[in-house]
Amino acid sequence: MSALYELDHVVQRYGEREVLHLDALAVPEGAIIGLVGPNGGGKSTLLRLLAFLETPAEGTILYRGEPAGGREYALRGEVTCFPQEPYLLKRSVRANVAFGLEARGATDVAERVATALALVGLDPARFAGRMWHQLSGGEVKRVALAARLALRPRALLLDEPTANLDRDSAELVRRAVTTARERHGTTLVISGHDHEWLKAICDDMLWIRDGQLAAPSTEAGHAPWPQPAV
């Protein structure tokens, strides 16, 4: 598999504080990569960099072999990020899922909205017309995920997608994201603390601690992790 992302000596700082320092990292196209590690370790920062929502303070990110710097807007049309606490626009469920499709100039919006909602276990007939404040916390997450899946992105970056979800919802998320890879070859990078859930779907797992790729914690009892794809 060719690399979708290649990171070379990427450093990210917030003010004076260095929050991420990766000498080298490659994410193969079509792979499902898990990111694990303690809170504040740099997982979310890495996902924001991969989503081109931030630019690194140092180093280069290659996307499909080409430097991403200066092309962030265009590349955001190919990748999308699902944050820990997703935000829904103050609109209906349908309008929320359709927003990205319309922004990217898609033509078959209605059909893709319905398909994406069904994929996350929400009946389009029941949910499409609901307003953002008529949803439970779990439904908000699923609508936000549907908004990303509808885009059929080349890369989908998920930041703790199962946090605060019950078992059934977590299973729905698992099925939805693996279906995205099966149907559209989507590359998935998923951070989380539910190691069992991640192990069940990931091709490779990376441990991030103190902003760096690290050996897995033996205390966690999940060793040995596959080595980082460098």
């Binding site: 927003f99 404040h133 990303r148």
Partner: protein
Amino acid sequence: MNYILDGLRQALELLLGGDPATFSAVWTTLLVTLEAMAATLVLGAPAGFLLGYADFPGKRAARLAVETFLSFPTVVIGLVVYAFISRRGPLGELGLLFTVPGMAVGLTILGLPIVIALTAQAVENLDPRLRPTLLTLGAGPRQVFFATLGEARFGLLLAATAAFGRIFSEIGISMMLGGNIKWSTRTITTAIALETGKGEFATGIALGIVLMIIAFAVNLAASAFRRRSAA
């Protein structure tokens, strides 16, 4: 007390009888308010968005200037605009003095700081997750702008309602720039002042009733919109 009740009775007769002078003032008020509100929102909403959204050198000073203009005396606004649009002023050739568009210019200057300040505040108070959400869904700068304004719509509505209240009920600017010319630039507020001064209490009350009904209707509509959007 009787003269107040008599005034009220005569006021209702004027309104129900469709008194042309009364309705001319109402029409002029609506026209000048519409013009001023349109200009205020077209100029003020984007400026407020920029002030609340973007970081630029001098932002603090701009914010301070806008807030200072919030408490600018209307008579001074009238005086400054008068100086510009009077025959000897730099914009005298436009012939705006004692016209409805001339009054609208002054009222726009009155409404602008309100819309800019309240829009900036509404945008600043938006959820910080909004921008990354829009960006990661693929929105370009124009889509980010309109979607952000859409998210701030309740704040914008509040800004528009507040500006409307100020513009609609203003008297000093209308008097100075409009000249209170009957059938032409006489508004509800300038007419009330004039008619009351002349002892025509009934006309003043009639116009006051119309003023309050319109203001109430606009606020009611804004409130209904807010409820419907949030429901």
